[in-house]
């Protein structure tokens, strides 16, 4: 497994619609593992394949830290209601913006075994599903924000505190 380089806003790859995945390969399996690791490493709750430079319809999501989801060729079947709240994106570091999203979504996708499944989400999970699926169509949340982006750079300079002890 490896941490991949997260593409930043401005990169053409983030504006390009992605192609569906047709079959599972060892290569793709490795990509999924890397995306999960990259997402956790960056303190993200979701990551889409184009964010690591791969134009495939594939996203990983984990909004609680212990509930990873892999969604291949995801599509929104149903959505309802409305929620307005703040979100950020690993491709737009140190910024957040207020976005209105559905309060509820139902999504169909394929899992790692390429078996079809459905997932429902409200609150943060609904927001995250919409945010990541938008990436697959080349849409950034910054095109949907109400008002300006806010700066959220780190409080303390040194983020390297991960020293282990016995």
């Amino acid at each position: 497994m490896a941490i991949r380089n997260v593409r930043k806003q401005g990169d053409e790859v983030l504006k390009t619609p992605c192609r569906p995945v047709t079959k599972m390969t060892p290569h793709l399996n490795e990509l999924i593992d890397d995306m999960l690791e990259t997402m956790y490493d960056a303190n993200g709750v979701g990551l889409a394949a184009p964010q690591v430079g791969v134009l495939k319809r594939l996203v990983v999501i984990d909004v609680t830290g212990e509930d990873p989801h892999v969604l291949i060729n995801p599509r929104i079947l149903e959505s309802s209601g409305e929620q307005t709240g703040w979100e950020g994106c690993l491709s737009v570091p140190e910024k957040v913006g207020e976005v209105t999203r559905p309060a509820y979504v139902r999504v169909a996708a394929l899992d790692r075994e390429m078996k079809e499944f459905e997932i429902e989400g409200t609150e943060l999970l609904a927001r995250c599903l919409c945010h990541e699926i938008d990436h697959l169509d080349g849409i950034m949340y910054t095109s949907k924000v109400n008002g300006p982006l806010k700066d959220v750079s780190n409080l303390s300079e040194d983020e390297e505190i991960g020293e282990e002890e016995d």
Partner: protein
């Protein structure tokens, strides 16, 4: 996608506080200013966590050291902070389910690159959660100095100091007051329309109470931040504790007086003095640094007080020739150990060491000695501190009386009857928060008044 979490923000704030000399309230206010867009619920959670972990540090560490197999000194700071936050949520925040307190702490450890310690964090917190009832019972005891220290999270030497000085009953009321809800105390300018302010604030969801002793002082509850309140920019009010205004009133400032405030920042006493001496009087507000002076000037500008002059000077230095014997009233509200305000300033009790007190007393004496020549013969000296120690208060008062041509002034008439104690006749008052019996949220404060002969 990424999200901003209040726990992570609190962790970063607490880490920054450990590494710098910054004040917890100032840093968390600056963070919330920057993260102004966070939902109110997240902001409240963040503030409660920062404040709670800071003030309960001693109690939290005691529990952590008991339940963690690692010896206290060996535990690295980030891990200790994550545990303090977790234990605080477990023991002091009923709104957080125990499972969330544990899980979120584990997640935080992972996100901070301490994933290897996640099982350790989990184990310690689950253990503490299982013993929650026993720990709460242990914290109920008030039988010994050690028990009081643990229950109220105040170092034992301070508990002993309080007990020696105020007796068990009064020190208990004071300790309890540390965790009572504390309103923002504001002084409404005499030029402002108090009724209009009050109704505008109440419309914004702020609860307003008037201080029973001082009609200018209003207590504001549930304030999102005073600078956002109606009337702030126009200088209709400023933040001032009732105790501070009581001290200024005890100095007996009259219209036309020249007042010198030697350590004035942020300027509350100077502003109150400027109101009292009026347009024919003058207030010279002095402080050490450009930064402190800027705060005074900013306040004076907002209040459009033309009779307040800000001067940058070191109060330990002898005054210039032209400054000698010019003051009708000399205000010496001096740097001190701050024990009277430790409920509002959560770090004081941990940063202060017993050996700091004699050196603070010496600093106060140095400033008093250097400043006294500015006072006219027949003029009034106000010496005040926001602390409770005998060394800084009574000892310095006795020293002033014995070393200088000063006599004490009977201030009985200048102290509201409900608060007045026998000591007022001898020219001094020691206020303690929690008294009188929690009726009014006062800071712990000492003031004494002298006349130069």
């Amino acid at each position: 996608m990424s999200v901003t979490e209040s726990r992570r923000l609190a962790f970063e704030t607490l880490l920054e506080l450990e590494k710098t000399e910054k004040k917890s309230t100032e840093l968390s206010a600056a963070v919330l200013d920057k993260y102004d867009w966070l939902p109110q619920r997240d902001k409240a959670f963040y503030l409660r966590l920062c404040q709670g972990v800071t003030e309960r540090r001693l109690s939290l560490d005691h529990i952590i050291d008991r339940y963690a197999s690692v010896k206290g000194g060996k535990m690295k700071l980030p891990v200790r902070l994550i545990l303090r936050m977790g234990v605080y949520q477990l023991l002091y925040m009923d709104s957080v389910p125990a499972s969330a307190a544990c899980d979120q702490s584990v997640q935080l450890a992972k996100k901070k690159g301490l994933g290897g310690l996640a099982p350790f964090v989990n184990g310690v917190l689950r253990g503490i959660d299982r013993s929650g009832d026993a720990i709460r019972r242990m914290f109920e005891s008030e039988d010994s100095m050690e028990a009081l220290s643990l229950r109220y999270s105040v170092p034992e030497w301070i508990v002993e100091l309080l007990d020696r000085r105020f007796g068990k009953e009064r020190s208990l009321v004071f300790l309890r007051s540390l965790y009572e809800e504390r309103p923002v105390s504001v002084h409404i300018s005499e030029k402002a329309d108090a009724e209009a302010l009050r109704s505008a604030w109440e419309k914004d969801g702020v609860r307003v109470e008037t201080c029973p002793y001082l009609p200018q002082i209003a207590y504001l509850y549930d304030v999102p931040g005073v600078e956002h309140l109606y009337g702030f920019a126009e200088g209709a009010f400023f933040v001032q504790d009732a105790s501070s205004l009581l001290a200024v009133q005890a100095a007996g400032i009259k219209p036309g007086d020249t007042v010198v405030d030697v350590c004035a920042a942020p300027g509350g006493k100077s502003l109150a003095a400027a109101e009292l001496c009026g347009e024919t009087g003058k207030v010279f507000s002095c402080d050490l640094t450009e930064e402190k002076l800027a705060r005074i000037k900013e306040n004076a500008r907002r209040f459009r007080l033309d009779n307040l002059i800000a001067e940058q000077r070191d109060a330990r230095c002898a005054p210039e020739e032209e400054q000698l014997e010019k003051a009708d009233v000399l205000i010496c509200d001096l740097p001190c150990s701050g024990l009277g305000v430790m409920g509002r300033k959560a770090q004081i009790r941990y940063r202060l060491k017993p050996e700091d007190i004699p050196s603070l007393r010496e600093l106060q004496r140095e400033i008093l000695k250097a400043s006294l020549p500015r006072l006219k013969k027949g003029g009034t000296l106000l010496y005040s501190t926001c602390t409770l120690t005998k060394e800084e208060n009574d000892d310095n008062r006795n020293w002033l009386l014995s070393e200088f041509p000063l006599q004490s002034v009977d201030i009985t008439e200048r102290v509201p009857a409900q608060l007045c104690r026998d000591s007022a006749a001898e020219g001094y008052m020691q206020l303690l928060s929690g008294f009188p019996e929690g009726e009014v949220p006062l800071d712990g404060f000492y003031y004494s008044v002298f006349r130069r002969i």
